[in-house]
């Protein structure tokens, strides 16, 4: 019975990488304590990987640990989450992203270079323009972004990051 329950939990995490603890408990109809126990066992065996970001705990299959780390860094600021949501609809240029989000182009440029480094977006040169596309499974990205609940410090820090990334003089 315990083994069956654990297999069910693992299958759900594999089907929905990045599912949050709450969503997993809701989906499987499990109690918090029960799920905590099984997840602790699965994590100890290296079959799942979990990380708390913002106010949520995200759970991934163990083999996705490296990907998960990159994705969680990618969604850790509000501007990057908004950029990813926009790129989910269609490929866009930096200028379009800046206009859509009402943010300065240097700020967008900083975030795009971070997202490129993390491998979450792809840049393609077309003539004189650089078009950005999402380079990761949109369903997983959407799940992570939708579940993200930033704390007060996160919100303040995100504002400061945008200010510092976009401001200053040469």
């Amino acid at each position: 019975m315990t083994g069956e329950r654990r297999r069910e939990i693992l299958a759900t995490i594999q089907r929905k990488p990045g599912i949050t603890f709450r969503a997993l408990a809701r989906e499987l109809g499990l109690g918090i304590g029960d799920l905590q126990y099984h997840l602790a066992r699965l994590e100890k065996e290296g079959r799942v990987f979990s990380r708390k970001v913002g106010r949520r705990r995200y759970i991934f299959p163990g083999r996705m640990e490296e990907d998960a780390q990159r994705l969680l860094i990618a969604i850790s600021t509000e501007t990057r989450r908004n950029i990813l949501l926009l790129l989910m609809n269609r490929p866009m240029m930096q200028k379009e992203l800046a206009e859509a989000l009402g943010i300065s182009q240097p700020t967008i440029n900083y975030h795009m270079s971070e997202l490129l480094k993390l491998g979450v977006v792809r840049a393609e040169k077309k003539g004189r323009n650089v078009i950005y596309t999402l380079a990761y499974d949109p369903e997983t990205v959407l799940r992570l972004v939708n579940e993200y609940r930033p704390g007060l410090w996160d919100k303040l820090a995100d504002g400061l990051i945008d200010l510092l990334a976009g401001g200053g003089w040469e």
Partner: protein, 84 residues
């Protein structure tokens, strides 16, 4: 009394801003956030030194120390505005 209250408020705000800068640095690794973190910590430290100088058991003049801290705070704010 009012002076002490304002000093405490300044110190608390400096520490809150230092924490925000720390969170921003941890998330972004932007060097200006680190300079801001140092500036706000120094500002809080300056307030502590100024507050302690009010106590009778401290006889040393802390004017020079607080003035140096002030210069350092302003210097760090200036550096944090420099574009990378």
């Amino acid at each position: 009394m009012m002076e002490l209250l304002l000093a405490i408020v300044t110190m608390v705000l400096s520490l809150l801003l230092a924490w925000v800068s720390f969170v921003a640095y941890r998330k972004s690794h932007l060097r200006p956030a680190l300079y801001l973190l140092m500036a706000f910590i120094l500002l809080a430290l300056k307030k502590v030194i100024e507050g302690l100088s009010l106590a009778s058991w401290i006889e040393r003049d802390v004017g020079v120390v607080t003035a140096i801290l002030e210069v350092m705070v302003l210097g760090l704010l200036l550096v944090s505005m420099w574009r990378r």
